[in-house]
Amino acid sequence: MNWANAVLHGILLGGLYALLATGLSLMFGVMRIINLAHGSLALVGAYMAFLLTEHTSMSTYLSLVIVLPGALVVGYVLQWTLLERSLRAGELVPLLTTFGLLIVIANLLQEFFSPDVHSLPSGSIGTASWRISSHFTVPWLDALILGVAIGALGSLQLLLRRTQIGRELRATAADADTAELLGVDARRVYAYATAIAVATAALAGVFYAMRSAFDPFSGPTQLIYAFEAVVIGGLGSLWGTLLGGIVLGVAQTVGAQIDVQYFALAGHVVFLAVLVLRAVLQAGGLRVLPRGAAA
């Protein structure tokens, strides 16, 4: 009986993971960069919201009005300075520089915010839940997060399909060289992609922080979950990322039902199982990983 509720909670949790993974997926799709600092940037978003809610009378939801545009700017600048140079320097370099960034961010956060654990106030939504039946309860916050995730993914899809910037993003992702020949500024396109990625990361970070406790070292864990969601759902597909997030979330909550300590482990096991499955299928000749992700 608790299992079904666990699965439901897993699906809801999947929404958060999908939101977190969106940016990672976007950056990989457009630039072939896996931003190891992605989780850390999400965490920075949470800490910014924390600053705002601690020192003003703003609610967490209102703080997003400041945090999100700020994140857009941070992402844009990050691409224009660090990542652009990393891309040009070599294939492996973005991994190394974003890892360096991860270390720097985690430690700077610790310096300025202390290693203490915090949580963001989630208002009345945070504590309320629907009781659907004797078996199912749905926390409002989790449902909101899933809704936001779907909304964000949907908006991003719309952006990609219907707008010029979306077409430029897809064109540059396919063939940056040729896009440039047509007048598309690839650097600017990449910067927009990173800006969107960091903004969705910050959004996810804030919701994560409302839902659970966070500390300066929570970044890497979120990165790993986001990455697992992306890989399970298939690199480069936005709705696949939602699916991957849900599968991961369900694996984790079901694992936790068996034993609370199995929470993360269950996710890791499913992740590796998917990898093994893909490796076996690949060996058998099927193309299951997109170009650039597999040998």
Binding site: L82, S86, V93, T97, L265, A294
Partner: protein, 336 residues
């Protein structure tokens, strides 16, 4: 004038012969250190040796194999916990346990290679990190290994050796491990495998088309790096005696990867001598500037970023290019 008649292909040059000789002599000399140096110095040198091991192993994977791994700490943890498991629970002599643990690490790396080597780039990097996290969780769930609060090999050593003896024997084990791995890597890179790895690095598709076994080459490096990092973990255990599976000081912590990346980037990715230089740099930083805490890691991370962007060949790579110097003859030279 025929170019062919006057050009020779050499492996050894006067410089590299003398340097390699000097290096061998140095290692022999260092073997006598426990008889000459005090405890503090020996302790420091052990640290230097396991840093060297970690650096050359990470470089083997990333610099020669093109595989950036952010999860080698998986093997460090296996090495450390392996020694505890074997020596504390199964009463094996701890130094013998170190050897066995290394073998276990190598054995684990084989099936792991089969799964992980399908991944490339960032997917491989994070995938290995996930593996490390998994091992950490497995260990933390195992009560016999101390669970989440960690464990120690104090008993295993103190029952057999005095602290002074432990220090000496650990020193020799560390020196032997570092020297052995250096030799193994040296021989490997001078072999056909070395040439094929260089080919893969330059142009993977072209290499494949002339029959180079790409997966095999990378597999060998993966297993070597796995074994090497396991050995380093075993030495770290012998040095610090107590370990934790989780938290910021975890033996499975990603901080180890941060150090490995720093050493190899600063020293010179893809060069033989570079990682050794990088290890020395890190060791000096740790000993004389700071060795833990926030600003230490901020410094490491920032320097790593700066080096990756502005000095991509590392200090040694830049020197090598500038002076056309090769101290250890891993490649070929044309002499006219």
């Amino acid at each position: 004038m025929s170019v062919v008649a006057t050009t020779r292909v050499e492996r050894w040059s006067a410089v590299s012969v003398s340097f390699t000789g000097a290096l061998a002599a140095l290692i022999a000399l260092l073997a006598f250190a426990p008889l000459l140096l005090g405890q503090n110095s020996l302790d420091n040198l052990i640290q230097l040796y396991f840093l060297v091991i970690l650096a050359i192993m990470w470089n083997a994977l990333a610099g020669y194999g093109g595989l950036v791994s952010v999860g080698q700490q998986a093997f460090i943890g296996i090495g450390a916990y392996g020694v505890v498991f074997l020596s504390v629970q199964h009463s094996l002599n701890p130094y013998l346990a170190m050897l066995v643990a290394t073998a276990i690490g190598a054995a684990i790396s084989i099936p792991l290679a089969a799964v992980m080597l399908w991944l490339r780039g960032g997917a491989f990097a994070i995938g290995m990190w996930v593996v490390a996290e998994m091992f950490a969780i497995f260990v933390s769930l195992d009560a016999t290994l101390g669970g989440g609060t960690g464990t120690s090999a104090v008993l295993a050593f103190n029952l057999r050796y005095t602290p002074d003896q432990r220090l000496k024997y650990t020193y020799w084990a560390a020196l032997a491990a570092a020297a052995t791995l250096l030799v193994v890597l040296f021989v490997l890179l001078r072999s056909r495998l070395g040439a094929s790895l260089q080919a893969i690095r330059d142009d993977e598709e072209a290499a494949r088309s002339v029959g180079v076994r790409v997966l095999l080459g990378r597999g060998v490096l993966f297993v070597l790096a796995g074994a090497g990092c396991t050995a380093a973990g075993a030495i770290i255990l012998a040095w610090q005696l107590s370990i934790l599976p989780l938290g910021p000081d975890s033996i499975f912590g990603v901080d180890w990867s941060a150090k490995m990346i720093f050493m190899v980037l600063v020293g010179g990715l893809g060069t033989f001598e570079g990682p050794i230089l990088g290890a020395i740099v890190l060791y000096l930083l740790q000993t004389y500037v700071s060795n833990s805490g926030v600003w230490y890691f901020v410094m490491l991370g920032s320097i790593a970023i700066a080096v990756a962007l502005f000095l991509p060949r590392g200090v040694w790579g830049a020197v090598q290019e500038r002076f056309n110097l090769q101290l250890l003859p891993v490649g070929y030279r044309l002499r006219r």
